[in-house]
Symmetry: none
Subunit: 343 residues, 2 copies
DNA sequence: TGGGAGTATGAATCTCCGG
DNA sequence: GCCGGAGATTCATACTCCC
């Protein structure tokens, strides 16, 4: 199915591939005799090799269909996630983060032989090291009480009403992912109208959340019973309103306003003296929007960095106008005023 | 050095290999200060193949020197941990858990292009699938206020007085690990008297904590300056008493902040003597957060009830620390202090 | 001595657009 | 594809300094 998709056609991929189950089973033969795996390196190599080959095949196709600015998410546990990560890197993907889904309510360890396996790992990767990927930084920050979103996410398992069940009342799919997890994934790296691909759709959480958030989706699923349920599930979703699904705009996405415009329209007339917050330097605004401070001359940013001897400087927040009475007003507030009026 | 060790001779291995960070250029904070990056020669590899070959070589030797019932811990980040995990599996190790070190105070992401990289990953593996490994289940449970220890650990970075510094006052080693991390690792899978190997000793945290907890250790370090400092550091450690380092069986109770956390972070260090308000009993704090008072051993609550021959006891308000000068401070006030600071 | 303000720093794969 | 310039971007903790 993946091979039928055109190259560079999807904005984001979420993949929840099968775990390496044959490896778990390889400990015992059908007659329950124990396989001496330690001395049987060839056999165990072929097990991993089969999983690696499978992984490599679908990941290669994913890379082909991914846009150059697109990103991929892959989820796994310690049985398979190291194989996934290694293959991602070997295929040229560029890992951006590994993200930990900390389960609020994991299954306990019944035998008391290990730590409670209370998390799964997601790998987030760009198509390559030069890719300019989308990351909705402000949206993620807003979601987290206005501090940067960390790489560890605390989210409950999918239970209760959200869990799809068959007619017999039993869970339809063994590893249905919670919608909260997919919502954060999709909000972090896509925009409304983007196309999201899930090559292992399963119970259809990716499709449901994509539709809810106004993203397009492509889902691939081999098992008919899952595919049918996922399709029904996605179609039953009512998409949210446009304003509800928009991502918080970053400053970079706001329209550019050259400083010269403020000079031209008289908000900061030529000849105005600018100073920094501590009033250490004083610069004069030129009619062309340039700044002069001693021998330093150029844009508000360039002069700011030169006087401070700093590698860079955002002149909008560095320079201030001294108002009558002596109070300081930062340049950025003039810009905000103009941008607000333009709406 | 590893090749000189006899086979099947160590009970546990902790390995903190170079991460292969692949940093390019420099990074400035928003305040224009320069981030002190890990650019040391020992972290430079030409490509993944070179890193994999290096990894395979030292891991093979580790497997040879590890006892059949021994386990290995390997720590890494997304740059290298997938390579580590894959090589571990390919060499026949049997992964028991991947454990997440959630950093209380990670470095932020300054450019807003990714999630804050707020964790590192430890892989815990047995020598093979048939190994009968040691896991001190009750000790880990005690440390976590009598609920199973999960696979995500919340521990602060190594800063302040714990951080080794050179004569110039700068950090001696770029990646010194916190003692609280090693303490949990060592308590989870070894017994007093066991031999612990660290093939990348660095600043010597493994050696220091092993000695403190009454375990033997072997450390290997290539850089003379690190090796010298690590040796001095380990030798300056006073081992805890036998009863403080023994691993305990226990059960019961569950406040929100485990007493073990106060032990780990040094507010109530192992070996501390606790007493009740009337100073009728005296109990010693174990490194796993258990308490010993005569033959009574277990959580602060259990020991409190046993010595009083009472059906139950809230250890938080029963036990006190005797301060220099003789005043008593109730345990609950330490908990309150931590909880208040966490707000 | 205590508190407030300011500064330093931690395993970091850390920009984007237009000419 | 290269280059120059605009301008966006930080959290928790510990320590220093000064009043």
């Amino acid at each position: 199915m993946l091979r039928q998709l055109p190259p560079a056609s999807v904005h984001a991929i979420f993949a929840d591939p099968p775990y390496n189950l044959q490896l778990k089973g390889s400990l015992h033969r059908p007659d329950n005799s124990l396989v001496d795996a330690v001395d049987d390196e060839w056999d165990r190599f072929t097990d991993f090799a089969a999983y690696d080959a499978f992984t490599r095949e679908w990941l290669s196709e994913c890379r082909r269909v991914l846009r150059r600015d697109g990103t991929i998410w892959v989820i796994g546990a310690y049985h398979n996630v190291f194989r996934l990560g290694t293959q991602l890197q070997d295929l040229g993907f560029w890992v951006l983060n590994d993200v930990i889904w900390r389960k609020a309510n994991p299954m306990p360890n019944f035998r008391g032989r290990r730590f409670t396996n209370a998390h799964e790992t997601l790998i987030w990767a760009a198509r390559g090291p030069e890719s300019r990927h989308r990351f909705n930084y402000q949206a993620m920050k807003s979601l987290n009480d206005d501090v940067q979103m960390r790489s560890d996410w605390y989210i409950p398992l999918c239970t209760g009403h959200e869990r799809l069940r068959g007619e017999d009342g039993r869970k339809l799919h063994p590893t249905q992912k919670p919608e909260a997890l997919l919502q954060r994934v999709i909000l972090s790296c896509t925009a409304p109208g983007d196309v999201i691909l899930d090559p292992f759709l399963g119970s259809g959480t990716t499709a449901a959340v994509a539709r809810k958030l106004g993203r397009h989706f492509i889902g691939i699923e081999r098992e008919t019973v899952y595919a049918t349920a996922a399709h029904q599930r996605a179609m039953s979703i009512t998409p949210l309103s446009e304003e509800a699904v928009a991502v918080a705009p970053s400053k970079k996405e706001q329209p550019r306003l050259p400083f010269g415009t403020l000079v031209e329209n008289g908000m900061v007339p030529p000849g105005t003296a600018l100073t920094d917050r501590q009033r250490r330097w004083r610069a004069i605004v030129g009619a062309d929007g340039s700044l002069t401070c001693g021998r330093a001359r150029g844009s508000i940013h360039k002069v700011g960095s030169e006087v401070q001897e700093a590698p860079s400087c955002n002149g909008w927040v560095f320079w201030h106008v001294e108002l009558p009475g002596g109070a300081l007003r930062v340049l950025d507030s003039y810009r905000a005023e103009v941008l607000a009026a333009a709406k």
